[in-house]
């Protein structure tokens, strides 16, 4: 496996920017790896922050080394950083831009993304955005305390709390950069899928992963442009004397805010509408690529066609479409007209139907298939389990009368951590084990596989840890325990009694979280070890049908001089496994006749 990495100017858009090893490379695989590395840093930081939150809730008197006691504002800054890092820099960045860049062009038979330089700019803007976010820790007053949702006036008035001055400004700056970067990246993804599919790659032959990335990019384009607008408006409220979100007569800390905001009479609810118009599609942006991957991995290891493929495409689009109509379910108790509650409740319940159809298709795909339990498959099965467990509480929270009790309790924390964070992470883990050969292969070195033994330990530790941590949160939520509380003990009055009851369960949750974090050690060891010493993957190690495993494609898109301009063609849809007695028979997309192993 040796190839000349010198780019061919005739094939690449620019020989200078296509160099895969340069820091500012425009090579889609390099950018994909850079995004994944950035997300790995973000997830490591975000996880440590969540562990600090758990430890503080359980042992509030412990002092943090090099810091001192965790004050209430420190706790809320942890909440803000944890949420922002995980939602934006992990769950948006890694599946959509990390694996999207690494895999999407190959899967559609393209030699790269449509706009390589724009791609490079998106990545570095994202990196800058994360640096700006982390710098908010050092702002006077500390990091912002208003959570990742940043409801005004708390986020609009600097004196509303520590961290709401420069810390909040840096948060706004960071998310503004992130919105720009993500909008650029989504334009790139959409253009690539629409314009650069190879010969024969019709829309219904696109792998479901590509459908996931495509739909998520459509949502990104809509959602992040609205978030960008909202961020600019909030910035103007803070510094330009406008009052989009600050009402007349707002008194913060004994100071009337009217003088600072002119004579306008803004509405905090406007922010909620704009934010959640972005925020709900955002959770689908995070999970749609994982849903696509799960479908493909289940089919691959079950050696089956995906059950009802066209319906899977339709449900992906339908989930995306309904995803932009449900933002009001975050606002049942926010002060909307109660009729709006009913409307958003119905649109939200409707989204359960295409989601259920997906689960049924997954179950049918693996039904009596005797699959091969490679680690990628285990995590895909774990995705199904967590998606179902987290998803089933969705329709409960979608009923406004029940949300009137459950809103902002730990029940909600359990719901979105299972369906978005854990299922999302399982999608990423499955992708990492499945595509590790693609992550590690360069022109100079062959792709490698991750260790299956360590992978199994990682899977079982993680799924046990995930359930041990997040299932009990349903109970503490049902007991009425609210989220975002900097401490759960030592609260005066009747609230103290209410809060004391779930404390034992809270301690258990903290032990679960510690276990869950420790279960990631085998993964990190596996990453480092397998990168150098993993078993050589060879060509198409999973006997997969999609184009990223086409022999020679990898070298061809490195613009190797020795591989002439070859037309890439596709002859069939993906997952063409013979569904019968001989599971070894399969038809890759790139082969015109059948191949038996």
């Amino acid at each position: 496996m040796s190839a000349n990495p010198t780019p061919n100017p005739a094939q690449s858009r620019s020989s200078a920017t296509q160099k895969p090893r340069s820091l500012f490379s425009a090579d889609h695989r390099t950018i994909g790896r850079q995004y994944l590395l950035l997300a790995l840093v973000a997830v490591a930081v975000g996880t440590v922050l969540s562990l600090l939150m758990r430890l503080h809730l359980t042992w509030p008197d412990r002092v943090l080394p090099f810091h001192g006691p965790i004050l209430p504002e420190d706790y809320l800054a942890l909440v803000t950083f944890h949420g922002t890092l995980m939602v934006f820099f992990v769950l948006t960045t890694a599946p959509q831009n990390g694996f999207g860049n690494l895999i999407l062009p190959s899967q559609i038979g393209a030699r790269g993304m449509a706009f390589p330089r724009l791609n490079c700019a998106s990545f570095w803007l994202t990196t800058l955005s994360m640096m700006v976010l982390l710098s908010a820790t050092f702002a006077p007053g500390g990091g912002p305390i208003s959570g990742w949702t940043a409801y005004p006036p708390l986020s609009a008035v600097a004196s509303a709390g520590p961290g709401q001055g420069m810390g909040m400004d840096l948060w706004l700056a960071s998310l503004t950069l992130f919105s720009l970067a993500t909008t650029m990246a989504s334009v790139n993804t959409l253009t690539t899928v629409v314009r650069m599919r190879c010969d024969g790659m019709t829309w219904n032959r696109l792998p479901l992963t590509v459908w996931g990335w495509f739909t998520a990019a459509l949502l990104s384009l809509l959602a992040f442009s609205v978030l960008l607008a909202a961020l600019v408006l909030l910035f103007c409220d803070r510094h330009a004397g406008t009052s989009f979100f600050v009402p007349m007569g707002d008194v913060v800390n004994g100071v009337l805010q009217d003088a600072k905001h002119g004579s306008g009479n803004g509405s905090p609810l406007l922010w909620l509408h704009l934010f959640w118009f972005f925020g709900h599609p955002e959770v689908y942006i995070a999970i749609l690529p994982g849903m696509g991957l799960t479908s493909m991995v289940l089919a691959n290891f079950a050696r089956r066609r995906i059950f009802n493929y066209n319906l899977m495409i339709a449900t992906t689009l339908l989930i995306g479409f309904l995803g932009i109509l449900v933002w009001g379910h975050h606002m049942f108790v926010a002060g909307l007209n109660p009729f709006a509650g009913t409307a958003f409740s119905i649109s939200t319940m409707a989204i359960a139907i295409p989601s259920s159809a997906k689960v049924l298709s997954w179950l049918a795909t693996i039904w009596r298939s005797r699959p091969e339990y490679r680690t990628a498959m285990l995590f895909a099965l774990g995705f199904v389990s967590l998606f179902v467990t987290g998803g089933l509480t969705g329709p409960i929270l979608a009923q406004p009368i029940l949300d009137q009790y459950l809103h902002n309790t730990f029940f909600v924390v359990a719901h979105f951590h299972l369906i978005m964070a854990m299922a999302g992470a399982f999608g990423l883990f499955s992708a990492t084990y499945y595509w590790f050969p693609q992550i590690t292969a360069t022109a100079a070195r062959p792709g490698r596989l991750m260790s299956e033994g360590l992978g199994r330990v990682h899977f079982w530790g993680t799924i046990l840890g995930a359930y041990a941590t997040f299932l009990p949160m349903h109970i503490t939520g049902l007991e009425g325990e609210p989220r975002h509380y900097a401490q759960l003990t030592g609260i005066p009055g009747q609230a103290g009694h209410l809060m004391a009851k779930p404390m034992l369960m809270q301690t258990h949750i903290t032990y679960g979280a510690i276990f869950l974090v420790l279960a990631q050690i085998p993964f990190l060891v596996n990453l480092v070890w397998s990168f150098r010493n993993g078993r050589l993957a060879g060509e198409n190690p999973w006997a997969a049908t999609t184009m990223e495993w086409k022999p020679g494609l990898f070298l061809a898109d490195l613009a190797d001089e020795t591989s002439p301009e070859e037309t890439i063609s596709v002859y069939r849809g993906p997952c063409d496994y013979r569904d019968g007695n001989n599971p070894a028979t399969f038809h890759p997309q790139w082969v015109s006749e059948s191949v038996a192993e």
Partner: protein, 255 residues
């Protein structure tokens, strides 16, 4: 512990209905709880069913899927789920409409709830049943005027402001929620109530407390560094005790 937590969600409602829920002390609460438990049962049942199908499907001998079973695998369960979700939605909206679509009983007790960093204040309109005017610039908790009452307004002369919410048992209440500075979340778990108080808006919320006792009022919308300690007590008392309490507050205010 872990196993108990996992199984607890689906098994426990039957063993002891709603052991995890706090006491229910409002008139709309029992219907809400029944609907919540029904939902939890359904979710728990579907959770178990899906995992059972998953396990059986993984363990059973390999076999191809026939055309007929394919249809059964998707259309029938999906149709069943559509009916289930429609049923739950209709029932939920009936309850939601009963709680929120209509205004309060005309005879409801009027109380204004004001949230500010990090306390709740409760204002009773007094004998004239009219709330006096408030002005943002008069808000001064340190000077004993947390809600910004305009002392010059006749209607406000007999207004009472308290740091606890005291309500008579069995009488409908109409709360008007306000926030002085940032968004707060008015929540009373035992009353199965939650509604944000938003600066610039007055939001009505009505209910009827049915069981005497002392309950926690929480803030459930992140409102700043003291969010976790923003709480008050709700005391539900007999109508006689309520009148006595009002009288004592009135004489306290007169002095």
């Amino acid at each position: 512990m872990t196993f108990a937590s996992i199984s607890g969600l689906s098994l426990s409602p039957q063993l002891s209905p709603g052991w995890f829920l706090p006491m229910d002390a409002s008139s709309h609460g029992p219907a809400l709880d029944r609907h919540l438990l029904l939902n939890l049962w359904i979710a728990g049942g579907l959770l178990a069913l899906v995992h059972l199908v998953l396990l059986v499907g993984l363990l059973a001998r390999r076999k191809g899927l026939g055309k007929r079973s394919a249809r059964a695998a998707e259309i029938l369960p999906l149709g069943f789920l559509v009916l289930l979700f429609v049923g739950l939605t209709v029932q939920a909206e009936i309850l939601w409409a009963a709680a929120r679509y209509t205004g309060p009983d005309p005879a409801a007790l009027q109380v204004e709830v004001t949230g500010m960093q990090f306390a709740w204040y409760f204002r009773y309109p007094g004998e004239d049943a009219r709330f006096g005017r408030t002005e943002p610039k008069l808000v001064a908790p340190a000077e004993g005027n947390p809600v910004g009452l305009d002392r010059g307004d006749e209607a406000g002369r007999d207004d009472l402001v308290a740091a606890e919410l005291v309500l008579p048992e069995g009488r409908p209440v109409d709360l008007r929620l306000r926030a002085v500075d940032v968004i707060h979340g008015f929540a009373v778990p035992e009353m199965r109530l939650k509604q944000n108080a938003v600066p610039g808006q007055t939001i009505h919320l009505h209910f009827t407390p049915t069981v005497a006792g002392t309950y926690a009022i929480l803030c459930t919308q992140l409102c700043g560094s003291g969010h976790y300690r923003m709480q008050a007590n709700l005391r539900v008392v007999s109508p006689d005790d309520f009148e006595k309490w009002l009288a004592s507050k009135r004489s306290g205010a007169a002095q």
